[in-house]
């Protein structure tokens, strides 16, 4: 069994428990041990607007350092992934920043981006392999038309995240194929859901998220999947659409026969 460091992040402990629980269960079934570091803290997602650039990196570097000696750091939440992987990229390219962070955190030696960061989807694609995953599926989503919703954060900026082509991605569609479903390609799959604007302008968030849902539904989707808790919230609460929205890990667990309640 291969062991990876697993970083859930705050939302997966509160609002997005399904994203977390099924990610762990499925990993175990796929022969991957996910080990949570002790006393982990915020990914840094709440500091991104700080004016001090070093401050935006500190939290992510703590997490990255905790995984330095493991096979890699696995994240699930789109936002955590975005912040942590971007920080890793920035720090590997900027020695001055690495040294500043070293002094702030009072480290013995500077962290220079040694950890490999995987999004859970990358873990499935690059470590497990979608072919292998396909073999382990017991409840395939046969005949189900599933729309993959990437949102804005999962793949961008593409240079730092190096996960897939942000304009014409395939990783989630390949995942859908692996669990036996039929992927639906629609124009809005990599557009914004409205994000945090829901806090101050519900109408705008409704406009964005309904555009996503309508676009997917009009192309024949039965359901939509995402890796982002905020996307899920907007698509469910603001779009006005009744098409089901799931975390991709829920479908994964169901396909692997790990979800007790199959009717959800």
């Amino acid at each position: 069994m291969e062991t990876f460091t697993y970083y859930p992040g705050c939302t997966l402990r509160t609002k997005a428990k399904d994203l977390d629980v099924y990610a762990r269960k499925s990993a175990e079934a796929l022969g991957i041990a996910l080990v949570e570091p002790e006393n982990w803290q915020c990914c840094g997602g709440t500091y991104t607007t700080a004016t001090n650039e070093v401050a935006t990196k500190l939290s992510a570097v703590r997490t990255l350092m905790a995984a330095k000696d493991s096979n890699g750091l696995v994240t699930v939440c789109s936002a955590c992934h975005n912040v942590i992987k971007q920080t890793n990229y920035d720090i590997s390219k900027n020695e001055a920043m690495a040294n500043k962070v070293k002094r702030y955190l009072d480290l013995e030696e500077a962290y220079k981006g040694e950890t490999t960061v995987y999004h859970y989807l990358e873990l499935l694609r690059d470590v497990v392999g979608f072919d292998k995953l396909k073999e382990k599926v017991v409840n395939p989503f046969k005949g189900k038309k599933i729309a993959a919703y990437y949102g804005c954060l999962l793949l961008r900026p593409s240079k730092a995240l190096a996960m897939d082509d942000p304009e014409n991605p395939s990783i989630m569609e390949d995942f859908i194929k692996a669990i036996g479903g039929t992927p639906v390609i629609y124009a809005q799959r990599n557009e914004c859901c409205g994000g945090y604007i829901t806090l101050e302008d519900k109408a705008q968030a409704a406009k964005r998220s309904s555009a996503v849902m309508d676009s997917a539904q009009s192309m024949g989707a039965d359901m939509i999947i995402t890796a982002c808790p905020l996307c899920l919230y907007n698509l469910k609460k603001n779009s006005g659409s009744d098409m089901p929205v799931y975390y991709f890990t829920e479908l994964l667990a169901e396909a692997l026969g790990l979800k007790e309640d199959n009717n959800e």
Partner: protein, 663 residues
Amino acid sequence: MQRIGVFVCHCGTNIAATVDVKAVAEALGHEAGVVISQDYQYMCSESGQDLVKNAIKEHNLTGVVVCSCSPRMHENTFRKAAASAGLNPYLVEIANIREQCSWIHKDIASATDKAIVLGKAAVAKVHLNAPLTAGESPVVKRALVIGGGIAGIQTALDIAEAGFEVDIVEKEPTIGGKMAQIDKTFPTLDCAACILTPKMVEAAQNEKITIHSFSEVADVKGFVGNFTVTIKKKARFVDETKCTGCGLCTEKCPMKKVPNEFNMGLDNRTAVYIPFAQAVPKVATIDPNYCLMLKNGKCGVCSKVCTAGAIDYKQTDKMIEQKYGAIVVATGFNPIKPDKYDEFAYSYCPDVVTSLELERLMNAAGPNGGTLLRPSDKTHPHTIVFVQCVGSRCDDEKGKPYCSKICCMYTAKHAMLIREKYPDTEVYVFYIDVRTPGKNFDEFYRRAVEQYNVHYIKGMVGKVTPKADGKIDVQASDLLANEQLHINADMVVLATAIEPDKTARPLATMLTTQMDTNDFFTEAHPKLRPVESATAGIFLSGACQGPKDIPETVAQASAAAAKAIGLLCKNSITCNPCVAHSDELMCNGCSACEKVCPYGAITYQDKEFRMPDRSTAIRRVASVNPAVCQGCGACTVACPSGAMDLNGFSNSQIMAEVDAICK
């Protein structure tokens, strides 16, 4: 005793504004061996050259140092002046105090100091210069044109017209290139095929022109006037000499589902095919990726129906070797694939097409016989949106930084043709700028706007959303009205950037020519030598050098031909005497120089040497072919024993320069 003259140029204010030229002349006048040191406003002018010539005669000079611009500019000028005054031209040295000094410094004192040091280095070198004599090498009176598009065809026709043999190497089964795929040409709207195919036929029928279609350049050796080129004639499984082009095989071939590249994959062709009706040579080609006979040995229909007996399933690639005096590169361009711009939905929506695809959709020989229909459901489109600059003028890695130049004009052409033929169709064009410099070009674009009521909107398209009802939502900004627009369109046409053909880069390596970061061939001088490459004997024709429309391509093709003819007219050319030579007594035959020589100029031979004890020994030593050597100096650096040296740039001369600078 050396008698050296130093001549310091002001270059107007180019040098004199930042370098105290009088102080430079004064300082260099005190150097050992310098008998005269002068400054002058324009040393390259006739009176400036006279100054040099008179000084050579008057002071009986043994060496000349000119402190001026880069030797690339005027080294030849001063060498010629010296020669006319009776001094060996290779006893002239240039100290570059313009590009490498005055232009890059601001402080007069330090720039002057640097100019003096550069002058001292040149004086130190000229002390060691030896007179050199340039040899001559014969010119093979035959030209090679690589690429058989309109550029290559025009160049070949012009060279043949001047009476020289010329070969065209074309990688596709037919010549014609991109122009053959185009429907109409701007700004006159005449049909591309009607003006291109007569030229293709003319090339085929010209006795002086040999067309190697379905062939590639595999290797290039030699140098200006004397290139040896290996051409790979790819197996087409049809005997070119027997095939009559009747097309019976293409009718009977059972494998009919091969994407037709000539129609941009919008319809299918058979496994044995002739790209289009007017192909030259009109000879069938079998596609081994699809032919059932070649793949699994079961079929043979084409062989049975061919009355000429031209089908040959056993044909293999053939290599032919030919000598040429001049090579013209005409490898052309391709539109980029817009798959990195999926905000335009190109990869999954069949009704989003590129402009070249639209050309085929509108062409009478295209997939719809010239009726413009949506690829998805074959219905007539009522609203068409054109998006300009897709991948052009891009500051990110996805696209090209340059303007592709031809898109504004062909989009105006498309818009106009559609409005002319289908007045019920609304046409929108989204642009950043409309760029229409060229004879009758802006008038043409204005006609599209004013006469044909094409809706030109300044602004970019942000998102193309194919909808379930088959319509396409185009979201864009109108920058002049400051509005967000949603256009309910039936088709979207992307004016994709153009890029050099993929074969250009490996070819540039074979030809030892330079390319820019976009893989366009670099001309020898951007203004004054636009059709020559920096490598002697290699000329550039058409879009391989930069984006160009047809009139410009043809103009450059003829210019390249003129340059090639100029070379072929000579019986021999003067060689560069600054070539490497090996000191056989020091050479230990290690092969280090041979390995680094990019021109294959170094060979080894076993020679008999008399040893100190009067015995004889056979030793392996390097020898340089001076006709092939280009004087790059790689071997002199690689040689571990110091046996290899370069005329005009000997190790001792370079060291003398370094010593003078460091003193």
